[in-house]
Symmetry: C2
Subunit: 249 residues, 2 copies
């Protein structure tokens, strides 16, 4: 499995991904699921969930790795809008999934799929966040739904829904993501440390922060340890139930 | 979908279930998923998740509804131990699932399944809690895993893991269950109000509480409204992240 979250804030974009891939519980590895391209007028970031061979193939095709290094041309750096970048990624994803499925006959149907979160900004336009489906189509984050999750989305979702605020600082957004990842890591063995973190400030075309958070990171340890106590305090701050007063309205 | 939780406390057993069943999002109904039998030396409670025709058939067979009312004999009231009750329920569940699957040919494989949570106590023995699988086998709750969930288990699990304490009062257990159900109700449309609540005190063979919690229940509304604020307070009580101090240990 995987867990990746991308969110849009007034200040820009914040992305976090785990790094565990598994084929059964007895075959786990660390692979990067967050990718970034840019320079000059744009920053483009991608997070991947699903079949690892598929997502690695998509990234390799984006970077034209079938060609000699000197001949490669990354179209992401030339497309005029983020919408076109999303359409190009969707096309590559759909083709890669379809090829592998076709090569494997009807049995392959529904397998080899993957989903992508695409985030970025091109100069003169707004920061944008997309969720790309294995079929190649995609949706964009909006005021109503300002973040996307892929992979194991359920355990970490309630705190995102309650804690997200589009005016929040980048620091608070990272704290929120760490709480959401901590709940997920504790519940699903196929989501694992280290985590990758990327912060893209609006109208700034170099990442503000791009770092790996190891399991020994003292801040993450502190969040993980103190969130249990904070949750219990929150729980005890709620009004007490009584069996003996009228409860039904 | 469904959401049901059963937990063992030092004081006894607490069960909560939702009542929504659905066949597609455009066909939803309210059905009771919590059942109780007892009298004299025992209380036995059952919660069901999965195919509604299957779970209703299991309950009807337990109550021998194929016979005239006067000839019916509920074996649950006669079996000497909770282990035997679990085995009998498992047998009825496995047979019901298998029959429907067989009648529907190979296509039926994997469909028509259901899971059960069984809770209860027979005089002279401990309160016990079981999770029964569609295959008819079952596991029992232990000190290490003192509660079982069936149905949509993920959204409501983190707070159960952090909030559960076997010495907690029944009131705190109900509060904890309401928070867990609130998170699940907010995230999955196929889990719905009203909720059924059953509290079985140790060595007492009449339920301490057996009530339905409607969506207008003022306590539930209060929990639902204040949990968001309590979570945000918990979040803000955590230490702040800083991009500019050494984070990696």
């Amino acid at each position: 499995m995987t867990y990746c979250v991308g969110m849009v804030l007034d200040r820009g974009l914040v992305l976090m991904s785990d790094t565990r891939t598994n084929s059964g519980v007895d075959n786990i590895s660390v692979f990067r699921k967050m990718f970034r391209w840019g320079g000059g007028d744009r920053t483009i970031a991608l997070m991947t969930a699903g079949n690892l061979a598929t997502t690695q193939a998509v990234v390799s095709r984006l970077e034209e790795r079938t060609k000699a290094p000197a001949d490669r041309q990354n179209s992401l750096l030339e497309l005029p809008t983020m919408f076109q970048v999303a359409a190009e990624m969707g096309r590559l994803l759909r083709e890669t999934v379809k090829e592998t499925q076709t090569e494997n006959g009807a049995d392959g149907k529904g397998r080899f799929t993957a989903s992508l979160i695409l985030a970025g900004q091109i100069k003169g336009m707004e920061p944008r966040l997309f969720l790309i489906y294995p079929e190649g189509n995609f949706i964009e984050a909006s005021f109503d739904t300002p973040f996307f999750q892929i992979g194991e989305t359920k355990y970490g979702r309630p705190i995102l829904i309650r804690g997200y605020d589009r005016t929040m600082s980048f620091e608070d957004a990272v704290k929120l993501l760490m709480v959401s990842f901590d709940s997920t890591l504790k519940a699903n063995l196929s989501v694992g440390m280290p985590l990758d973190l990327l912060v893209l400030e609006r109208d700034t075309f170099e990442p503000l922060h791009d770092r790996r958070i190891e399991s020994t990171n003292p801040y993450f340890e502190q969040i993980s340890n103190s969130w249990g106590a904070a949750l219990r305090n929150a729980f005890h701050s709620l009004p007490d139930y009584s069996f003996y007063q009228k409860q039904d309205g």
